[in-house]
Subunit: 194 residues, 2 copies
């Protein structure tokens, strides 16, 4: 096996890439400027040294605490998300001016993921210390997301704060005809005055 | 812009990758074993040093001449392809036991690609020196592929060899109903006795 095939096999382990698309990429690199490939290699090789986890919220950052946790203008709300990449998605929507907390997973007993595996201790610590007014659960509307949301609501029930969850319903631009029953049922239960 | 975003932007320049899938990959790498990312970086950084172009056929190889050109058991047929990756596809089909020649493009005057830009001189040289019996044009059935095929046929008309072209027609498993007119027309003209 030569260097092309070794790299193809490695790239095809990345999410969403099969062997065909991985091969296409390697040939694209071979046909292109060697400097581009070398720069990519340098960025990859430095990735784990440059990017660390924020000790407060658990998201990926170059500085600890991360720019969001270090920003005093952020409101005393905490948006709880499953994974670090969810922070990026919400930040890009510019919908939320508060802080974040990355759980690092969702409760899934069948997969052996229990509450103890999530960053719940640090969440309680922050709620106690940072004068948090509201905890927004931005967890996926799945069985695991629902379970985790219920668990956290229970955990926070004695704190003087609101626990809310992102609305679940029809996606904007979606079609009623193609909505599944559960989504439809949630969009009815969560209907708002118009 | 931090190291994650820089890498996302670089990866999203690869063919078939948008910013969303590139970001998914970077987070996959960050969540995974740092050694995997470092190995990938090392393989990328060595890519252009390890993989060179074969001086005979023009395909990518670790040794010059490449294993195919260096193999005396290969038959004296030359399969002419547009790009180096086409060699890999044909080799994997195990359909062909001859040799290859990579043109490095197809004639496309509107894009400024003229016969002088392709590796046609080396092809003539090989045809003269290597006692080639047949030249198989494995070029895409497109306008550029057709133009290039006609040009090469003309170029080789005084040599004592056959010039053939891969059959064009309905793909195996395809559906007549969805075949375009040109494919249908070619499959009629190229029909074989059954």
């Amino acid at each position: 096996m030569n260097a092309i095939e070794r790299l193809v096999i490695r790239l095809s382990k990345l999410p969403g890439l099969g062997k065909k698309s991985a091969r296409r990429m390697v040939y694209y690199l071979l046909d292109g400027d060697p400097q581009f490939t070398r720069d990519m290699a340098a960025e990859l090789s430095a990735l784990h040294e440059t990017i660390i986890r924020c000790g407060v919220c658990g998201s990926f950052t170059e500085a600890d605490p991360c720019p969001i946790c270090a920003d005093p203008r952020r409101e005393p709300l905490i948006c709880v998300v499953e994974r670090a990449q969810d922070v990026q998605v919400i930040e890009e929507s510019r919908e939320f001016q508060g802080r974040f907390h990355v759980l690092g997973g969702l409760i899934a007993p069948l997969e052996g993921i229990n509450p103890g595996d999530l960053r719940l201790g640090p969440l309680l610590h922050r709620v106690r210390e940072q004068g948090i007014r509201e905890v927004i659960l931005a967890l996926n509307p799945t069985v695991e997301g629902d379970t985790t949301a219920l668990y956290i609501r229970q955990l926070l029930k004695d704190f003087p704060l609101e626990v809310t969850r992102l609305a679940s319903g029809l996606p904007v631009g979606g079609d009623l005809e193609y909505a599944d029953r559960l989504t439809l049922s949630r969009s009815f239960r969560g209907r708002t005055r118009f």
